[in-house]
Amino acid sequence: MVNSELSGWYALCAVDDLVATRVLAREVFAHRLAVFQDELGHVAVLDDRCPHGGLPLALGRVDNGLLVCAGHGWRFDAQGRCRVVPSSCSAEPLPACTPVRRYPVATHAGYHWVWIGKGTPFSLPLTFELPELGRAGIRVLQLRYRVRCEYQDAIDNLVDITHLPFVHVFPHMRDIDRRLLISLVEIETDLDQVVLRAGTPSQGSADAIAERRIEITFAAPTTVRLDFPRPAAGAASAMVACFVPQADDTTIVESTIVFPAADDSTAFTVARLDASADDPFSTLGRILDEDLVILVAQGRERRLSTAPDLVVAGDAMVAACRQHAKARSAGRIPAARTKRFLCRCGTEVPNWPVAE
């Protein structure tokens, strides 16, 4: 296994996915977790193993705010303490077992999060709240899917704008190609996050972006937000994706995509509405498919070979995100810095044949 465990917050489930009477089974690295809600609505994340017989607690159910093990009906509270052993006579004291390991949990940006690893939990940046969520006319798509690749490669793919013209081939991407052809890229690292902004360089100043096309925010260990300023009608304006590493080197992606109310803007966007289809999700599906082809092939290759990657200037965002995650995981404070450079993120001509 190439992945080493990075300390930090990982998304468990969308808030709506957690129903009062159900226990969810989740995995982060090699940690198996049982997630449930007690009677006060507090979310509890316990080690997914009953101290009695070793059965996964996630096979059980929730009754009166207590997690009931599917094996012998032992009941546990949100602290992981055993409260009821049904087979015991009334006089018999509860077994003196240590509580089930409990993980720190938080609710943020529409997700429940769990803290994995050592150190004091740091806070997730506010950037990941999507204020649009409550507004009228907004459509929201929440996706949860598994990719057969390492989480690091999946994150790299999302924060990397230099792959756009080569992987995404269908007609509307050509428009993006031209707009991003020679972009000014600005990468700003601070304590909480790494932010990439890219767009046309301004005529007057070599250091200023005239028109921002895309903004990407990364926060350790594995969360990414994409923003598309002034999206086209029907297109996504923002997206948050949390990558959750699984024990078998696959990755669960929890993502929320926001489609604002229609307006007439024709600015840069990734998930533009197809003229022929009413459904912006169909375009989004194609974009995902194209990335998945690459990621799955890359994942297969990574399992077979440990040859190192080569890094070029265009990989600066990927490198900055990896460094940031490593520093935060180790409890260091990442050095604040800003980097600006020109980068080709498009092609002069649409050089890929349109997918058949």
């Binding site: 230099t162 792959h163 990657d309 080569l310 070029v312």
Partner: protein, 353 residues
Amino acid sequence: MMAAASDVRVGSTESGNREHAGIPAPPAGWYIAALQEAIVRAPRGILAAEVTGRRLALFRTRAGALSCVHDRCCHRGVPMSLGRVEGDRVICAYHGWEFGPDGICLRVPSNVDNSAPPRGARLGAVPAEDDAGYCWVWTGDGPPDALAERTAPLRDASRRLPAVRSTVVVGIGYRQVLLHHVDRLSFVTRDLMRRLDSAANFAVVRVLETPTRVRWEVSVLRSSRDGGPAAPEGVALSAEIIWPDTLTMRRTDGGAAGATVVRYCVPTGSDRCRVETSIWTDDTATPDFALCAGLTNQELEQLSPGRTAVGRGIRVASDYVVEAARRFLEARTIEERNRDLKRYEYRVRISDG
């Protein structure tokens, strides 16, 4: 030898036909990567091929020269075979890095000033040549040997093009596939001979071992009325296993219906291989055609690790050729092969009477 075989105990265990620990990896050499025409048919001009555990990508320059590189971009590890060929360059599907036919990176599109690609930006290049309708790749580290020796079976057969060419991917190791052929041929022989000559009741099998081959010839023996053996008739079937992965079969019986089959069982991984078959025959219509291949393609596809391994277990005299082939295939070095070379002749009963 027999003691070693019983120690290993393969037949019914779940390891089945897998190549065993202690059996050497396929030797370095020239192997068939693909049919020549397969590159032309590849969707974006680039074809993935696996040979002795190496994942390779094959493509052609505008001038038609064959090029073979490791199927892994040095940037992010994405297979080059997902990319495409443009002019003389192969272009990665992920970030559009462009590589020449020698595997050296020529352009990194995200570099605005067209600055030179980073040092060490190259794909491993593998010697590759076109010959006899196939693309061949060299799996050794040093300079390649002459290819002619490996393609000789395809030349010997006939000057004409083969009537049939096919490729089958098989889920067991190449040595086991070869042994399945030897095993099957000894059985086919019996069946075939009886059909050709109902009066025949014995076949004579002559086995000849040389450092690079195991050859065996089968001729029919018709017993005389008084029960004593008569002189054998002409050779009806001859077959060879040629180091390391080749099998040839030649039927010379039945007058016009002679046929030659050449099969390369190319090791792709430790327990799988790709069987490249060429068949020369005048008679593709008759049922005997399937027999001349020893194992049909359908039968090859069904070979799986679950089936009993050939070449291990109880041996009787008529299995001699299987045993000889197994020893040959599992030898490590020329010296080891030289030690056991034999000429051997034995009889097989082919009538039930």
